[in-house]
Symmetry: C2
Subunit: 449 residues, 2 copies
């Protein structure tokens, strides 16, 4: 049996994952409108054998602080994720493309169609990152939905995912006959209705897009709240997560794998990929210098605004930023991240502005600043300690931060026997060693909410 | 002043526009899942200097007759239009890509984002074909909307388009500063809220995707009912239409241009493109043979089912198919096409099955069966008689039917001085000689419903 190998993903971002990346001399401040930038980044990852290119998204502009908004390039994620995924998939041949789409402000039939279509365009390389869209500024861009509180958002998400799966499974690929002679294109059992009537959605079906070579897109999730983990344990193939250190990462990993087991499904088929924000130097001093250069470009109003968002849209405007973090109202939106950040501030004794600057770079993800050996070694530690099945790499800057990781760290991971680009797999599902989904009769396998 | 030139578009279809194209020996019956087929077709049109590749779409499977459904490849349009448009735009460099999306089963913010993102991906070559989704089988795939009758669908469409335009115009491109030194990315007036609260939609804005080099996608429309023409006159840059002959085409063209004038806007900036279904032969006899070969592949249940759909989802199951078309209930969905078809049946003295077969090939569009000279000549007649600013070419089959037109007809159009590929234009808006939209203060220019 082949030994377990690391799964590697890269995020596709405009100038970089670091909040001040756009100001760095090596980056393009126009990357967020430049599709060729995204295609180059995805191709570089594909060349290096990465499994996944990941595209985040958001349905509005966080406007908590106008003066901060004017000082970042990330009020715009640049492109809408599904259309960008189509462009990236068309310009690549092997890498999987996982794109973000919301269950709160879409209809299942539309999203099922777009994702199935993407799966055909990519020839079976698409994944859907399921998000529930927590921001008030997202909600206001759409017609009202019945309830936006945390529990209802997740209940809605659960019903949404079930409906999309049912639509994807409304086809029997074996009954697509295409017989020119007889004139029969479809056998009598080629498609079936879905007839979904739930609390949040109605959809009769069937879908009018045929399944791809990987049957349907894989499912990814990043919610780390209790409801988010429950949804992931039930439905996800891949989980992305922001974990500040090995101990937190290990606890999260074990929790999720156990929840998956409790669903009666193999925990090997739920891949947990923490983010890593790697700053690579030829020496540790060089790495620290590179980090400091980026940190020096952070504008205080930007860091504070980001902190407000990450704490769940709280208002820190009256707070002494050189003092400790005050007690916060429990957030309706991003519960899990609020807990991580207050913990981090306590642990490292950070002031409000200190915490803001500390997380503005990596945005709450695990950051490793050091040589390629340092970084590869720590990745191995997480992998062997049961804290990660692989990593979502968050390059501080594009293209240099990504190039550094690919040139210096990836060969060490290969040398350590942790990473081996799969050159035989054709679909993302094969590449991730995930089983084919059960078709046509999955209600017991995928328990509903 | 340069003389007026023909605008040429091509539809991107699976095996061909003819309903039995998938059974023809020259076509691929798997074209509807083959993205490379669509890319090849778009590139062939681009090479030939076409302005537009057009992607139709539908949000469900018409199921009026199960036995017909099993005998066509078109219950699936193969791909969802916007994701396919992204793939086609990524694989081409000059041709405009106009993709269909519905105003009845989307939210304006989502569609505005996806279209703006496509416009960036294509570097300013996208158009939106605005449809209202008339089929009951589309409606049942979505949560209920307040009303689905013809007038309300168009009122909703009108508000939808206004909202999308406002969102596209929520940016001031001149205030995107990207100043690395000062850290200021946006000037203070870079974006503004939309604050739309209407009968059907709410959207606060601004959009989080930046305008493209053509400001925003161009707008296309194909509704030919009174409400459809009113919407087109008010908002469209391009109108596609199915007109069976020159007289009908001229009446439609003049009506639409006059309505545009009545809106106080130049009728030169509303391009009317009737469909043409060309069957090209080296001789007329060869063209007739080619047509007959396709017609012989039509299965009666398919033709009748298509006729039922085109008449507005009527039920012809009890009708004597060898007799004349009975009186029909007025359709709520496709009023204008019902009128054209009953007129055609009367004019040509067709039985029900005769009408069904007559329209199944070209699907109600103008069909020309003859030599390249015949076809180019009749296109010139329409163009000079004030019935067309150009044409949407509907190849009977892919790739041969498209190749025949490009190889044999296009050079004759060029020779006659009617067609001249524009090699300088970069955006679709430039290529179509359309003015830049007025920004930031367009309420009076684009009157609301």
């Amino acid at each position: 049996m082949a030994s377990r190998k690391l799964v590697l993903g890269t995020i596709l971002y405009p100038s970089g994952h670091h909040v001040a990346a756009w100001r760095h001399p090596s980056t393009s401040a126009s990357a967020n409108v430049d599709v060729d930038h995204y295609i180059r980044s995805a191709r570089a990852a594909e060349e290096a054998g990465f499994h996944i290119a990941f595209i985040s998204d958001r349905l509005g502009i966080p406007q908590s602080r106008a003066e901060a908004l004017q000082r970042v390039d990330e009020w715009s994620h640049g492109f809408e994720a599904l259309t960008l995924a189509a462009a990236v998939a068309t310009a690549t041949t092997r890498i999987g493309v996982i794109a973000t789409a919301s269950t709160s402000f879409n209809e299942p039939y539309n999203l099922a169609r777009q994702l199935a279509s993407l799966d055909l365009i990519s020839k079976g390389r698409i994944g859907w990152n399921i998000v529930t869209s927590s921001l008030e500024q997202e909600r206001e861009n759409f017609n009202p939905i019945p309830s936006f509180d945390h529990a209802d958002r997740y209940e809605r998400a659960s019903e949404f995912v079930e409906t999309v799966l049912a639509l994807w499974e409304s086809w029997n690929p074996d009954s697509i006959l295409r017989n020119k002679q007889s004139g029969v294109f479809l056998g009598p059992d080629a498609l079936k209705s879905v007839d979904h009537e739930g609390r949040f959605f109605r959809s009769k079906g069937p879908l009018n897009v045929i399944p791809s070579s990987q049957d349907h897109p894989i499912l990814a999730q990043a919610g780390s709240s209790d409801a988010g983990k429950a949804l992931a344990a039930r439905t996800a193939d891949v989980v992305f997560t922001a974990q500040p250190d090995l101990a937190a990462g290990r606890a999260f990993y074990q929790d999720l794998k156990q929840r998956r087991g409790a669903e009666g499904r193999s925990s090997d088929h739920l891949l947990v990929l923490p983010g890593i924000f790697p700053v690579v130097g030829r020496t540790r001093a060089e790495a620290e210098d590179r980090y400091a250069t980026l940190q020096d470009l952070i504008q205080p109003e930007v860091a504070l605004s980001l902190l407000e968002t990450y704490l769940g849209d709280v208002d820190l405007s009256g707070v002494d930023i050189d003092g400790p973090l005050p007690d916060l109202p429990q957030s309706n939106s991003i519960r899990s991240r609020q807990g991580l950040l207050t913990g981090l501030a306590r642990q490292e004794g950070l002031s409000v502005i200190g915490l803001a600057r500390r997380i503005a770079g990596a945005r709450g993800h695990w950051q490793v600043i050091g040589t390629a050996e340092d970084i590869a070694g720590q990745m191995e530690d997480w992998f062997t300690a049961g804290a990660a099945d692989g990593f979502m790499v968050l390059p501080p800057t594009f293209p240099d931060g990504q190039d550094d990781f690919i040139r210096d760290v990836v060969p060490l991971l290969t040398h350590r026997g942790l990473f081996e680009p799969d050159v035989t797999a054709r679909t993302l599902r094969q590449r991730l060693n995930l089983p084919r989904p059960l078709r046509m009769n999955t209600k017991t396998e995928r328990k509903s909410a």
